[in-house]
């Protein structure tokens, strides 16, 4: 029926009645970027051949219809996140790309080992800085970097953290360049995106049924079960039937869809602060049958708002007295408050040192070179090379406040330099990376777009990772910013035995 040309230099030819074969000859391959599908324009990577064959066996109309079906799955279920503009709040459906990104298991297994190692070190670090501070006494990290970090919670000092695992759920952002994978940042507070990973999978596999089966893709759908098991391990009562609640800031939170989704996956009640109360050091939720004791709270609300008696007193989202119950060990909070100290961008630079210090191992995964502007030498380097660097506020997230030197006008650059000089400790800089690109279906053709990868690591008594990740796409042409709030999209990630 359709002619598939295996030398991958395809010539557009009409399939009669206006049907047009998909072609890759116009694919904008750029050797500067690592391409997830092509080693060179003529040579697809071996683990991607089967997928490429499948795509090239379709007409433009067919792939367009697959794309539309995948998108429709998202819109009919309102798989969305909330975007806050200056004047209005919009519910945005994440643009999903129908072409999966494929990672061979040989690469994935290294990532998995590296991520487990990294989270183990981060957990040790958090427990340490809120107890003995050995790492500071031993001079591995400067005291002021840790204790001056805005996310360091003095209130958590001396608090016993269940299982010594303050970070139960971690989402680590990874990028790939020609030099391999690197960790861009660790998200240790309330990482989001896992629901889109599962939703992407459900939508994508339904539309690539036969090759999905052929590829023997690792499942991501058991994430909910792993999360439930992990949270159960934190149960302070130690019984087999813990009452788990997922604490959300509410429907106006940008990740509210995910909160609903996960509550459903783990069979937990989705609670807001107003549904909970603390009495005699125990936490209860208000149900139609009366008050029910809560054992584990998977909190998706920032530290600041969790307990107005402990942190921000003007918070109306939290639960007064919750931290009292936590300190008494009557309820577990996952993740623990104060974990933000370890995902601050200036602390990030020391994670390889933490791994060596706590685990006596060499880091499996590399960091991106990072310059801490709080140090005069690094500040000088940053100012001298600002047109080649990305400068980020240390406590920022979501791509907000990020300065891309190469794309700024002179005026913007001078303005930013003033800000940087005024408060250098608030910034770090990193080289602008050529993020790897993956083919996406855009405007009825294959177009390369920059992608990142966020795998999720669960840690209770042991660590668990599902074979898949949330892959974000920088949708505008030539953009490097993948954040959903800044116009990013998403695609499925298939980990395959190869």
């Amino acid at each position: 029926m359709f002619e598939v040309l295996h030398d991958y230099i395809l010539v557009r030819h009409a399939l009669g009645r206006g049907r047009v074969q998909i072609e890759v000859k116009d694919y904008d391959y750029d050797p500067l970027f690592y391409d997830e599908m092509f080693g060179s324009p003529e040579d697809p990577r071996s683990h991607c051949r089967k997928l490429l064959d499948e795509i090239l066996s379709m007409s433009v109309e067919e792939l367009d219809s697959v794309h539309e079906r995948v998108t429709r799955t998202f819109s009919s279920q309102s798989i969305s996140f909330t975007l806050y503009g200056e004047d209005e709040v919009t519910e945005r459906i994440i643009p999903i790309d129908c072409i999966p990104r494929i990672l061979p298991s040989s690469e994935w297994d290294v990532l998995e080992a590296g991520l487990k190692q990294r989270v183990a070190a981060l957990n040790s670090f958090i427990v340490d800085v809120y107890s003995n501070c050995r790492i500071l006494d031993d001079g591995v990290m400067p005291v002021d970097v840790v204790k001056g970090c805005p996310q360091y919670r003095i209130e958590m000092h001396g608090v016993q953290m269940p299982l010594n695992a303050p970070v139960g759920v971690c989402g680590t952002d990874m990028v790939r360049t020609h030099d391999g994978f690197r960790v861009l940042e660790d998200n240790l507070r309330v990482p989001s995106g896992v629901s889109y990973m599962i939703a992407n999978r459900q939508a994508t596999k339904a539309n690539f049924r036969s090759i999905y089966r052929d590829y023997r893709v690792r499942e991501v759908e058991q994430y909910g079960r792993h999360l439930y098991e992990t949270l159960s391990e934190f149960n302070p009562r130690g019984n087999n039937d813990p009452c788990i609640a997922l604490l959300t800031p509410g429907v106006f939170n940008s990740a509210f869809y995910e909160h609903m989704f996960l509550a459903d996956e783990i069979g937990a009640d989705l609670v807001e602060g107003r549904d909970l109360l603390v009495n005699d050091g125990y936490v209860y939720m208000r149900t139609t049958s009366g008050l029910r004791r809560v054992d584990v709270i998977y909190r998706r609300i920032d530290d600041d708002f969790i307990d107005p008696l402990f942190f921000r007193e003007d918070s109306i989202l939290g639960v007064p007295g919750l931290m009292h119950a936590y300190r008494k060990g009557n309820v577990a909070l996952v993740n623990a408050p104060g974990t933000g100290v370890a995902d601050d961008k200036s602390i990030y630079a020391f994670v390889p040192d933490m791994i060596r210090y706590y685990l006596s191992e060499e880091p499996i995964l590399a960091n991106v070179d990072t310059y801490l502007c709080r140090f005069p030498k690094d500040l000088e380097f940053t100012l001298d090379n600002i047109d080649k660097l990305v400068v980020k506020p240390v406590g920022g997230s979501g791509g907000y406040g990020l300065f891309l030197g190469s794309r700024a006008t002179d005026e913007e650059r001078n303005e930013f330099i003033e800000k940087l000089r005024a408060d250098p400790a608030n910034y770090i800089s990193q080289p602008e990376l050529a993020l790897s690109r993956a083919p996406c279906w855009i405007d009825r053709q294959l177009e390369p777009r920059c992608v990142d990868l966020r795998p999720f690591i669960l840690t209770g008594t042991s660590s668990r990772i599902v074979g898949g990740a949330f892959c974000r796409i920088a949708l505008p042409k030539d953009s490097l910013i993948v954040n959903s709030s800044q116009g990013g999209g998403a695609k499925d990630v298939w980990v395959v035995d190869f």
Binding site: Q77, Y284, R286, G290, L291
Partner: protein, 326 residues
Amino acid sequence: MLSRSAQGLYWIGRYLKRAEHISRLMNVQVAALIDRPLAHIYFGWTRLYSHLGTSSPVAALRDWSEESDGWGLADSFTLADDLTFTRTNDYSICSCFEMGRENARQIRHCVSSEMWICLNRSYFRIREQHIEDIWTGNPQQFYADMVQDIHTFMGVASSTLYRDEGWDFLQIGRVIEHAQLMSALLVFQVSESESEKYGDLEDYDWLSLLQCFQADEAYQHYYGLKVEPDKVLNLLVNDVRLPNSIYFALDQIRSRLDELGDAPGNRNGATANRFAGRLTSLIKYEWPDAEDKKRMLTLLENLAFRLHDYISSAWFNYEIDDSVRF
């Protein structure tokens, strides 16, 4: 079940019933625009706005007289838009869908996926339309489709929703909204039907009322073609076999509250159960002999509002004391 989730389901039931109720009335009203005299049309609009307790955006509707030419069919376009698509009007069908969906969104894990998809589709369908899209075509079909969408949603709920308290609260919300709107509508009807300001309504007021609730077929079957207000009232208020009668609605509330049993706000829970029982008895035993039907209907309307408060303080916003801990 989390009290807030139960409350969310209760309000989904209420908002969707309100959307259905307004769609039914709008269906009859846009049919009247085809061939009814202006007086009938005016009566229909006034009935809609008055019983909903909201004001019309068209000043001429408030100051209308049959002789004046300040009001006409063109205003119906504005009024239909106001009650159908205007999102700033809490009583528009679109707003009711939006609030029903918003409640479902907040407790998404308590409704089945099929319910959510069904509600979401209906919501986006109405949200993406404008009055101009339906007005020149067949607006009656649009309103009939809205009613159909809500029936479909309730059917999907019936087939897929787990039968815990959530199901009961969804149903209680639906029927309590019906009882409140229906009694408010009938209060208006008995008060205003005889008013001279509408001229000769030629039984249109009562006939259209029956049509709003698909009760015209049952009426003709049991009472014949002659429309008599007392019989219409009896059918719509205390007929045990008519699913849209007030008695039918209140009896469902009573039996669902019985099934729910004791509420955590114990005292209020028992009160809510007793109160629903008293309401059904009132209709069953006192309505037939009541001479002042308007007074009875006003009483029913007030009591239906109080029933809402009792349910809310029994299950959703109860006071905390040691007796409610488990």
